[in-house]
């Protein structure tokens, strides 16, 4: 980001000054920022703000059952709409419970504005009831945070919070508001009055960098587009521009977990997801390419595998809105700091203007090689007539939801990877998952947020029986707000990914990964006022899935799957892209160094 050394003067209100209490300012600022939904939980230190919400019916408040649920719901809301998610929680435990969601949003670049109550300014530092050093605790898990000590700073800080959460690389922010500041009266500034004095992220690409990128693409014989969540954050135009660039060049496209949907999975140029559980063709193409064009991704360790063997023969272009990502993990030949949509649009324009042609002969050979990799059918699995294979369950869920206005969220683990591998997304903003932090318990509250934003849509949380128990209480939220979310649990009675790694790395000693004393999910659903369904045999699956889809209620679906199925293909820790395991694990396939890795 480029920042000016010369600082603007403090903002002065353009319009006639409005006097409001701090609590009223919060509600007014949210409305002026276009906020229609907030996710929250009241408590002593935010009571004045809740009082202001009571007096004003312009904002829908969603009462969650745990503050972590509020943050994930806000993430789901944000990811599925492109708007920031807003959370309101109290001091102390309210704030500390929000920390997991803040960290999750920081890792996945989700814009969140989290408002926390704080004890009155004169009590700060006295170990007062429900006091926590929220600013200290959340400094490491926010893009920026503020403690508001003067009510006259409050509206400015709130508007800056929106600018920073949504500007540049998006991320979560915290505004910590002491209770006395909520009661005091001060001057309210509108969003138009407030411009952060130094935060000016660079979003326009350098023309010379775009020109060089286009030359490199035209010269490539074995190119690949490696795309990521930055395309989703940039907005639908970025996905549109990518489609055009892919169509102009004929290059293959792969994506990270976070980028799924930016490129249509139905395109013949789509190679599927890359990385640890990516397809054989995507990972081998990454390894053997001569030009890697990374668009809005960050060379995460799940994607790169062993770094010193990562795509050894390629030239690399890296487009990212965050300058610190360029050369962080992998040295690249060309870094482009810009908004992904703007930069790809410029590439498309220049490619057309210069009448560039891709290397047809090179690409023909390259696609022939890719087809040989594809022929391995790396996502194939052995089906069963007796047991529901988790892959089969996902495939049926996919088949039976075609033609629907569909949003998918997930928890974290094997089910997440199977969903990422097998669901085919055609559009951005349809896939909500916890990528960077890997937060079990993300999917259910995220589905609540998504359904709030898209009342008529079909919202399914593809879950595991372990993950879902972490934020299960949000079923109650779904019932309260008539949100017909569908929780589709691939129940294998194990923390499946933990079990898989124990099989692979720890001699099959399944230490504490068995989900003992599981609740009866059907009864639990009924206790919450939801519909509970269970399928144990392949032949009954379709009818039950259909029943789930047709139900106007929130549904908990206990899908009993093969307990010992492993997720393939897989790049073992510490291995390179071209050392994928297609099926059947053995401990010998992991190096000692690899065992040290996560």
């Amino acid at each position: 980001m480029s920042k000016s050394d010369t600082l603007a003067a403090a903002p002065k209100p353009k319009q006639e000054a409005v006097s409001l209490s701090g609590a009223e300012m919060v509600v007014r600022a949210l409305k002026d920022q276009g906020v229609t939904h907030i996710f929250g939980y009241p408590g002593g230190a935010v009571l004045p703000i809740y009082d202001a919400l009571f007096a004003d019916n312009g904002i829908t408040h969603v009462l969650v059952r745990h503050e972590q649920g509020a943050t994930h719901a806000a993430e789901g809301y944000a990811r599925s709409t492109g708007k920031p998610g807003v959370v309101l929680v109290t001091s102390g435990p309210g704030a500390t419970n929000a920390v997991t969601g803040l960290t999750d949003a920081l890792m996945d670049s989700i814009p969140l504005i989290v408002l926390t109550g704080q004890v009155a300014t004169h009590l700060i530092g006295t170990d007062a009831f429900q006091e926590a050093d929220t600013i200290g605790i959340t400094r490491a898990c926010t893009k920026h945070n503020w403690l508001v000590k003067d009510v006259n700073d409050l509206s400015r800080i709130l508007h800056e919070a929106f600018q920073i959460a949504t500007g540049g690389r998006p991320g979560p922010v915290v505004v910590d508001i002491p209770k006395d500041v909520q009661f005091k009266t001060g001057t309210y500034l509108t969003p138009d009055d407030v411009h952060h004095r130094s935060y000016r992220p660079k979003t326009e690409p350098d023309a010379s960098a775009i020109a060089r990128a286009v030359e490199m693409m035209a010269a490539a014989k074995r190119p690949i587009f490696y795309t990521g969540g930055g395309l989703i954050n940039s907005g639908p135009k970025a996905s549109q521009a990518l489609r055009e660039l892919a169509s102009l060049t004929g290059f293959p496209v792969t994506s990270t977990l976070m980028g799924l949907g930016a490129f249509p999975a139905s395109s013949p140029q789509w190679l599927g997801m890359l990385g640890m559980h990516g397809t054989y063709e995507a990972n081998n193409a990454m390894h053997d390419c001569d030009l890697m064009v990374c668009l809005g991704a960050r060379f995460d360790d799940r994607v790169t595998g062993r770094i010193d063997l990562f795509s050894p023969g390629s030239k690399k272009i890296h487009l990212d809105i965050d300058p610190s990502q360029i050369n962080k993990i992998v040295r690249v030949d060309l870094g482009i700091v810009a908004d992904a949509g703007k930069a790809i649009t410029e590439m498309v324009k220049l490619w057309k203007a210069k009448e560039k042609k891709a290397d047809a002969a090179g690409l023909k050979d390259w696609w022939a090689q890719i087809e040989r990799w594809r022929a391995k059918r790396s996502l194939a699995y052995e089906d069963s007539e007796v047991l529901i294979k988790p892959q089969y369950a996902i495939d049926r869920l996919y088949a039976l939801t075609r033609g629907r206005d569909l949003y998918i969220t997930t928890e974290v683990g094997q089910h997440q990877m199977w969903a990422a591998q097998r669901f085919k997304f055609e559009e951005p903003n349809r896939w909500m998952t916890s990528g960077g932090l890997g937060t079990m318990g993300y999917g259910l509250p995220a589905a609540v947020g998504v359904q709030m934003a898209h009342p008529g849509a079909l919202v399914i949380d593809i879950a595991g029986e372990a993950s879902v128990q972490m934020t299960m209480q949000e079923m109650s939220t779904a019932v309260q707000y008539n949100l017909p979310i569908k929780i589709f649990i691939l129940n294998n009675e194990y923390m499946g990914m933990v079990r898989q790694w124990q099989q692979l790395l720890h001699g099959g000693r399944y230490s504490h990964s068995y989900s003992e004393a599981l609740p009866d999910f059907v009864k639990m659903a009924e206790a919450f006022g939801c519909l509970g369904l269970r399928a144990t045999k392949p032949f009954e699956l379709d009818a039950k899935i259909q029943e789930m889809i047709d139900s106007p209620k929130p549904v908990l679906f206990d899908c009993r799957v093969d307990a010992t199925e492993n997720c393939f293909p897989m790049i073992p820790s510490g291995a390179a892209h071209n050392a994928m395991i297609l099926s059947k694990l053995s401990e010998a396939s992991v190096s000692d160094e690899g065992k040290m890795l996560v």
Binding site: M1, K3, S4, D5, L7, I135, G136, R139, A140, K143, H144, L147, I164, H196, R197, S198, Y199, D322, P323, S324, I326, N327, K328, R331
Partner: protein, 162 residues
């Protein structure tokens, strides 16, 4: 890759917690801090300058600069080690004790140190110089009754007009 020593300065908003943000960034990402100084430089604009001396391979130094620039209250980051016109200075207060202070005073005079306090059996010297020369001064004084040291850490500025 070999470690290099670099002096980075950051012009920042002088706001509560800014030092914690910078220090937290270094500890969270495992970067070294060899010294750190911070003070307000422009009360009208309410900006401070933080000078950090750090060491690491070139790629890590590049990351530290980029990560510092990501912090919202950071306006500008400069690496004076690469800039040709960088000047680094540090101040040390050095105390020597012993029956005979004459040798210490003679040695200190050669380094250009000032005597701030002289009580016969103890002397307090002040030396402002490059960090390397201050280290060399301390090495010399060690055999001459050095009993206490306080160093400020490095402050850095550009020689250029801008």
């Amino acid at each position: 890759m070999a470690n290099e020593r670099h002096t980075l300065t950051a012009l920042v908003d002088n706001e509560a917690g800014i030092l914690a943000r910078v220090v937290g960034l270094f500890s969270a990402r495992g970067y070294n801090i060899e010294s750190l100084t911070v003070a307000e430089v422009d009360p009208a604009q309410s900006t401070s300058r933080i000078t950090v001396v750090t060491s690491g391979p070139p790629q890590v130094i590049e990351q530290i600069e980029a990560q510092l620039r990501r912090l919202v209250p950071v306006h500008a980051v400069t690496n004076w080690t690469f800039a040709t016109g960088g000047i680094e200075r540090e101040m040390a207060l050095v105390k020597t004790s012993g029956a005979d202070q004459a040798a210490a005073k003679t040695a200190a005079a050669k380094f250009g140190a000032r005597i701030l306090d002289d009580r016969g059996q103890t002397t307090v010297f002040e030396l402002t110089d490059s960090p390397a020369r201050i280290s060399s001064f301390l090495e010399t004084m060690r055999s001459l009754g050095l009993s206490d040291v306080s160093r400020t850490g490095v402050a850095a500025i550009s020689r250029d007009t801008a």
